[in-house]
């Protein structure tokens, strides 16, 4: 049999079985492989000794090459039974050829079947074993994973608890047990619902209900719990819902972190931030916060009251008895104040010896009665060590509707009112008075604008005649300063001189007035010669203490070419009453220079005549109140006698006497009869402009006759 025939059979075979099974061969490799099998089959078919077992092996070989599709066997058997006899035709004379081929086909089938069975069983066993191994691997991994989870549960630094959906606690880790002080048995007999703390926000348990119903997957809150020993812990609590594979709620896991320590620290820091360490009272920050709360919601007619309290003379205690005693005193005062306050009232230390009491939803009577209680409570002596201290306090009270004020206004008003209580004599309360405050504000405004007003020439000087009572002739004029204020109109000296004295502006202003007056006097002297009046200028106490006073006067006199004898300086008794020698020395120098010196408003102060004796003086100006007592309608014999005595005494001291406030002819006559030398008042003339004085000088008439005052105007 030729090679070609065998090869073409193998090719037929390959074509027949291609695609019936997957074998890892290309088409050519397949044909080559099948050629080998073809050889074995043909050799067996034509062998002298027929052995069909070769075909059995060929069947097994097909399976080994992975011809596992049974179609392969069908195609193979069809080819062998149908085409192998033809292929061998003429190549063998074996009479049993057809039977041999049938035997071969049968053996291929048997070999294939038994090999496929073996292969199938092997593969099934292999895959089942692989399944088992995979499962075992998975279980081992699961066990390892569970061990890890268990370790995580038992060794976690946070508390972990597991509960079912009915709220039974089923597991708790050691940290959680320690945190709560329970045993596991204690815990597992508890219900989640028994973990309620009275301070829990309603939202906590709403969130819990939603979680159990599956409406939310977790929630996180800060929550307090009771410990087994009755103590309390603060925790960060996170509760999570665990669902089963269908997504239905299965159980709950709580993770609990103990933040009690942090919480205590925060509470302590908060307390420290809002309390005074010495007295334990709330501090300024707390007051500020509390007021802010009140003012954040100024509902309807809500009112607020404030008592601003300051101890009188606390500095003396501190300085003389030491800070320890001072501190003890503050502690005792704080305790008495606290004893006076009830609900809705907050007492706080603002610092130093200042305290404040806030009264919420107040009425004025309540706040006043509280202030009275406080003054009464402080009245009893306070014993500190060996000292028995008596303290008084001044209290400023402000009480008003919340809606009409602001926090800053309220505190400022209380502060001002406290100052009033101090100024009014201490040991008392003062109630805020809007009118008084406005006046003070106006004064304050004046005092701050005065220096600039001098620069802007807002001041001017009027002159009031001083008249000799003997013949009613004009001898002198008193310079009176006025302020033409852009807002308040023309202001008299009584409205700003006191203020200028306080602020020191008087020095600058006084110098300006002196210069103005001297210049004017010098002009009159030039115009009217000896008929010109001397000029009388007021000197404030502050000016008198000014070291440059004498120099200033000299300079001004020189600048205005005015003879010193034409200048009179008026000063009050009080201005000379100090212990200092400076003012008297300055006065003596001026006196020596020839400047006239007058005591103004005599009789309103101490009227210390023996003291006056030692002073360099020319004139006494009797206060206007004496002239009032000389009215004929109400003849006051006491006043008359006093005036007489004063005039006699003055004359005894070689001083002249000028009466202020002369308004009637009757007064004029009485004063003249009593020996008074000069007078000043509306009877003669009111304060006049320089031009009006010019007119009086030109007329050269006596002043004080009926209607003369008006004519002068």
């Amino acid at each position: 049999m030729t090679r070609v025939r065998r090869e073409s059979f193998a090719q037929l075979w390959a074509d027949a079985v291609a695609g019936t099974s997957y074998v890892s061969m290309g088409r050519d490799e397949l044909a080559a492989h099948l050629l080998g099998l073809t050889d074995r089959l043909i050799d067996a078919a034509i062998a002298p000794d027929f052995d069909p077992s070769v075909a059995h092996e060929v069947g097994a070989d097909l399976v080994a090459a992975h011809f596992t599709g049974t179609e392969t066997l069908g195609e193979t058997l069809a080819l062998i039974t149908g085409r192998l006899a033809n292929l061998l035709d003429g190549l063998t004379d074996c009479p049993e050829l057809a039977a041999r081929i049938a035997r071969l086909a049968g053996n291929i089938a048997a070999g294939y079947a038994s090999a496929l069975r073996e292969r199938t069983l092997d593969e099934q066993e292999a895959i089942h074993r692989a399944g088992l191994v995979a499962r075992m691997e998975a279980e081992r991994a699961l066990a390892a994973s569970e061990a890890r989870l268990r370790a995580m549960f038992t060794q976690a630094a946070v508390g972990i608890g597991i509960g079912d959906l009915e709220g039974n606690i089923t597991e708790a880790n050691p940290t959680l047990l320690r945190m709560f002080g329970y045993t596991l048995d204690d815990f597992t007999s508890l219900k989640v619902s028994s973990m309620v703390h009275p301070e829990d926000a309603a939202s906590v348990w709403q969130a819990y209900e939603q979680l159990i119903c599956g409406e939310r997957d977790h929630f996180r809150v800060e929550k307090r719990f009771h410990r087994a020993d009755g103590g309390e812990i603060w925790t960060h609590l996170t509760v999570s819902l665990v669902r089963d594979e269908t997504g239905a709620p299965a159980y709950q896991v709580a993770v609990v972190e103990d933040v009690s320590e942090r919480h205590r620290l925060q509470a302590r820091l908060h307390y420290q931030a809002y309390h005074d360490p010495l007295t334990g009272l709330p501090n300024r920050a707390m007051v500020s916060d509390r007021l802010a709360q009140v003012f954040a919601r100024p509902i309807g007619s809500r009112r607020i009251g404030l008592c601003y309290l300051d101890l009188d003379g606390f500095k003396v205690v501190n300085d003389s008895l030491g800070h320890d005693v001072g501190d003890q005193l503050l502690i005792a005062v704080a305790s008495r104040l606290a004893g006076c306050c009830g609900r809705g009232q907050l007492v706080a230390r603002m610092g130093g010896d200042e305290f404040v009491i806030i009264v919420e939803d107040s009425c004025e009577e309540d706040v006043i009665s509280l202030a009275e209680d406080v003054l009464a409570a402080l009245a009893a002596p306070i014993r500190i060590g060996d000292y028995e201290l008596i303290v008084t306090a001044s209290i400023g009270i402000v009480e008003r509707p919340v809606a009409v004020t602001t926090q800053a206004d309220l505190v400022q008003a209380a502060d001002i009112t406290l100052y009033w209580a101090k100024a009014d004599g201490k040991g008392r309360y003062a109630i805020f008075d809007r009118h008084r405050n406005e006046q003070e504000v106006a004064r304050f405004t004046l005092s701050t604008t005065m220096p600039a007003a001098v620069e802007r020439n807002e001041f001017f000087v009027d002159y009031q005649p001083l008249v000799a009572l003997a013949d009613c002739t004009l001898r002198g004029v008193e310079a009176l300063v006025r302020w033409r204020h852009p807002t308040y109109g023309v202001l008299g000296p009584e409205q700003f001189i006191g203020l200028a004295e306080e602020t020191g502006a008087i020095v600058q202003l006084g110098r300006w007035v002196l210069a103005q007056a001297c210049e004017q006097a010098s002009r009159w002297r030039a115009d009217f010669g000896d008929a010109a009046p001397f000029i009388s200028v007021n000197l404030a106490p502050r000016q008198l203490r000014e070291p440059g006073l004498v120099g200033d006067v000299l300079t001004i006199l020189a600048d205005t070419r005015l003879d010193p004898s034409h200048l009179q300086l008026e000063l009050t008794e009080q201005a000379l009453m100090g212990d200092e020698a400076g003012p008297v020395e300055a006065l003596a120098k001026l006196y020596d220079m020839g400047v006239r010196i007058a005591i103004d408003d005599f009789g309103t102060g101490y009227s210390n005549l023996p003291y006056l004796r030692r002073l360099p003086l020319h004139d006494l100006k009797l206060a206007g109140s004496f002239a009032v007592g000389l009215r004929p309608a109400l003849p006051d014999l006491v006043d008359e006698r006093i005036v007489a005595t004063l005039v006699n005494l003055a004359h005894a001291l070689d001083l002249t006497v000028t009466a202020e406030g002369v308004e009637t002819i009757a007064q004029l006559e009485r004063l003249r009869a009593l020996g008074c030398d000069a007078g000043q008042g509306f009877l003669f003339a009111p304060p006049c402009t320089p031009a009006q004085i010019d007119a009086l000088l030109r007329a050269a008439n006596p002043l004080g006759g009926p209607g003369t005052g008006t004519r002068a105007l």
Binding site: G19, S21, Y22, V23, S24, G26, R27, D28, H66, T68, G69, R119, T120, E123, Q124, A126, I127, R129, A130, G131, V133, A134, R135, E137, A138, E139, A141, L142, A144, S145, R148
Partner: protein, 268 residues
Amino acid sequence: MDRPSWAPTDVDLELPSAARVYDYYLGGSHNFAVDREMARRAIELWPDLPQVLQANRAFLRRAVRYLISQGITQFLDIGSGIPTVGNVHEVAQDALPEARVVYVDVEPVAVAHTRAILADNDRADIVQADLSDVNAITADPRATRLLDFSRPVGVLMVALLHFVPDDADPAKIVSRYRELMVPGSQLVLSHATQEGRPDQADSHTALYERTTTPMTMRSRSQVAELLCDFDIVAPGVVFLPQWRPESPADVDDRPERFTGYAAVGRRE
């Protein structure tokens, strides 16, 4: 990945697995009743399916031989499944006995089986990992023992990426493998497509929805896009039997019946 890496993989033998169904299509018995049931229903819907997968397996064989002819001696076969007849290490080591092969599969039964088969082969091993877990694969001692990533590697993703849905971004996954492939490395790809048999693709996809590995069919241009950063070697992206057939007779009259695209890309 949703589960932490230390959590165990679930082994559920009641669910069909693509790897074992594939084995059944190729005439193997490394499968369970559920797998065969699934396979029989698929064949009912699509009688050509065994031929398609045989063609895919034949492509794998030709591709491995081609890579060896190009000097590749080490292979990383991702999604290797059940190492049934004509697997990569057999083909590669038949042609080049010192060839090294690392399989990767996530399915625990396939991994266990592969491990059993490779018990006596010290040049082939398997890493259990997901396709997307590139770092875990390249760091696994079973892989580093056999593969040297400083030299060209043949990476195989045969009948794999159609199990990666669009939202898992298969192109990105391919690019991450590309990063660890030095120039001269090759990527072997085959991918199911609806082109050729659009009438059957949907029902087939629907069937796979019920397995642990649902399918996403892709067009020729989409498959070419996956290889855009590689030099695609001739004959390009073609139906499975058309890729470098060993003889003209191997190419069917209607290659589009074999509804899968095959391609090899070279990393330059």
